[in-house]
Symmetry: C2
Subunit: 401 residues, 2 copies
């Protein structure tokens, strides 16, 4: 078997953690498997380096930031190899140059383009554990790039894809993917299997276990993922194309507080107004989420939508600047809202899910402000203060039954 194992920063935060990870990898190695380990930087190293960069230059060159950040994984992988050496097992650390992990040119948010497997194959043939720097690549200028937050997950999936790995294990500080955040819903259950699409909806909606890009890539290349704990041997959650069991009606409940509602009142009810609004925002790279359009008074309409909370002020400023062009009477912003979503592949053939969700919220006395749906997801916008109560109510309705 060829196994790719990825460990995040908290799993390699210090010598003790690194030795624990080394031992886990050696267990697999000693069963005769080929083992490729992808590591993040130790603990909060990346944050610390980013702070250092900001201290040197409040607006540092992104190219140089990536040059600086890339030292983090080079450090953790070299130390991991030393730990494995002390445990008597041959290993080799490899960085983005040594493997030739080609990415797009965009510093800080690069995408993999091509990964050479020759060096890794060669080291595996020599029965070495191969330890790879996550999160980084090189672009066509031979400059170091980084993949953005959660990039090490993407490195692991990409390697699993090009190496045709038998397994890609993402180790984290929880035991897998849960039906809801266990800190909010104490009786949340670990999900044994989940589809890529469900995982994507959950990840987008705030379940921070797996980075979305890594799930998208796993789906694209058919890489089966296992999410499990680096702290124990509990079975984790398998993420795959189709789950073996009958699709759960609802596999999870997610909340997202990073949202704000923008309302544009009294725009002319003529074609093209909605386009103008969302085109203005797209040009400023502002992502718009749930959209609602309602008929207003006297031939006008009201358009509401949500944006990430950080973008809310800029969104209002842009719309105010172009108020006359978009024919708006008034623009309002509310950043004390939150999204609650239920996700489940089984929804596609069970139309009653939405009404059951609304019923649960009604019984809990929670007011719904906006509704959005996809094939396998129903999202409602509610007041932020109600979000935990709502999550428990919806979880009880679908998972506990």
């Amino acid at each position: 078997m060829l196994i790719v194992k990825k460990f995040g920063g908290s799993s390699v935060a210090d010598k003790e953690h690194i030795y624990n990870v080394a031992k886990r990898c050696i267990e697999d190695y000693q069963k005769g498997n080929d083992v490729v380990v992808v590591l993040s930087a130790m603990g909060k190293t990346t944050d610390r380096l980013l702070e250092m960069a900001k201290d040197f230059n409040p607006n540092p060159s992104k190219r140089e930031v990536d040059m600086l950040l890339a030292t983090g994984e080079q450090t953790s992988t070299a130390l991991m190899s030393m730990a494995m050496g002390a445990l008597g097992v041959p290993s080799v650390s490899l960085n983005a140059f040594q493997i030739t992990m080609h990415t797009s040119s965009r510093y800080g948010n690069a995408r993999f383009k091509k990964i050479d497997t020759q060096r890794i194959r060669h080291e595996l043939e020599n029965r070495k554990i191969v330890i790879v720097t996550g999160f980084q690549g090189i672009n066509k200028y031979d400059d170091l790039t980084t993949l953005g937050r959660g990039g090490s997950d993407t490195t692991a999936v990409a390697l699993a894809a090009v190496l045709h790995a038998d397994s890609c294990e993402i180790y984290t500080d929880v035991e897998g993917v849960y039906t809801a955040d266990p800190r909010i819903v104490p009786n949340a259950k670990k999900i044994p299997e989940i589809t890529y699409d469900e995982m994507l909806e959950l990840a987008t909606l705030g379940a921070k276990v797996l980075h979305n890009r890594s799930v998208e890539m796993a789906k694209k290349y058919g890489v089966q993922l296992v999410v499990r704990s680096s702290l124990n041997n509990a079975e984790g959650t398998i993420v795959k194309e189709e789950t073996d069991m009958e699709s759960m009606l609802v596999s999870g409940v997610a909340i997202d507080k990073n949202t704000a509602r923008i309302a544009v009142f009294g725009v002319k009810d003529t074609p093209g107004i909605a386009f103008k609004i969302f085109d203005l925002l797209a040009r400023k790279n502002i992502n718009v989420d749930v959209i609602l359009q309602s008929i207003g008074r006297e031939g006008t309409k009201d358009i509401s939508f949500t944006v990430a909370r950080d973008d809310a002020e800029e969104t209002v400023a842009i719309l105010e600047e172009h108020k006359s062009r978009i024919t708006a009477k008034r623009i309002e912003m509310n950043d004390t809202v939150a999204k609650v979503s239920v996700v489940g592949a089984g929804m596609q053939s069970n139309p009653g899910v939405a009404s059951r969700m609304f019923e649960a919220l009604y019984n809990a006395g929670i007011n719904i402000r906006m509704i959005a749906t996809s094939e396998i997801r129903i999202t409602v916008l509610i007041n932020e203060e109600d979000v935990e109560k709502a999550m428990r109510a919806v979880h009880d309705q679908f998972i506990e039954d």
Copy 2:
């Protein structure tokens, strides 16, 4: 002009120092020069990383140690580029992969084999200051190597050679090369010009301003060096093939306490004995320095020599083990000795230097235990307790006159 400037760890120890260096480099840049800056890791980073490696594995893989150490210069160069950016000047940091600085395979002590200039030339043509990671290279396996202590000097000289630089400036925390250590000889003088050969003799003998390998490489490729202070604008010391001024009789006095005397008494006076002794030591990589052979009693002879103090015990152990083979009656070790040397290109045509040196030592009441000479150097071995008095006496004799 194309100027290569090298700054050591203490010159880039923190933000303030890095900004100072950035400003110095920008001064040259703004005069229209092409500027290539070679940096060491910040402050004591390399020592700290080595300690970390030892903590993870008392006997770490040298390949992995170099992987770890190489992060030090990548960090300092990226931060330097950010500082220059904040000062409004375009720059780019480049590591060993990006330039392709090929070295031999020996981790921890690699030698440059070939350095590509294409990337550096390209960046200089775009009017960027090029900031290069000192101390490191890549070998034929695409593994990172380091050049050993003082390696950043060697990087600077190697780059100056392949780029045909007009000047190669080595910045340090002293103003240049002195006729003696100013902490011991308060009236020591800064030497304005010195030949490569003199510098090599002084460096070998303990004047820690320039790494020997960098001077050897400068001599080989005819790179004129300037040693100067990173703290002020004082003119430094120029190191070149021939000094313009008439050769000084003695350009400097150096001391070296890292020495021990080994005496092998009563070996048979037959051919091959000396060879056997030094061959035994060479096989264990022990460097032998000053050698003295004297006639003993009854057809025997005594052989004395010096080794680095760290090697003294091992040397005695090796000789004791082969005592009968080398026909030795007795082996003695003395590690409370030191070497004092005078160096000067002018000696070659002035035979009286040795006797004047001995006279100075005699007048100071210092006993000479061994003598060794080269074309431009006279070295005497004395008791360690006399070394500072000897240095002042010899300095007074030659430099003060």
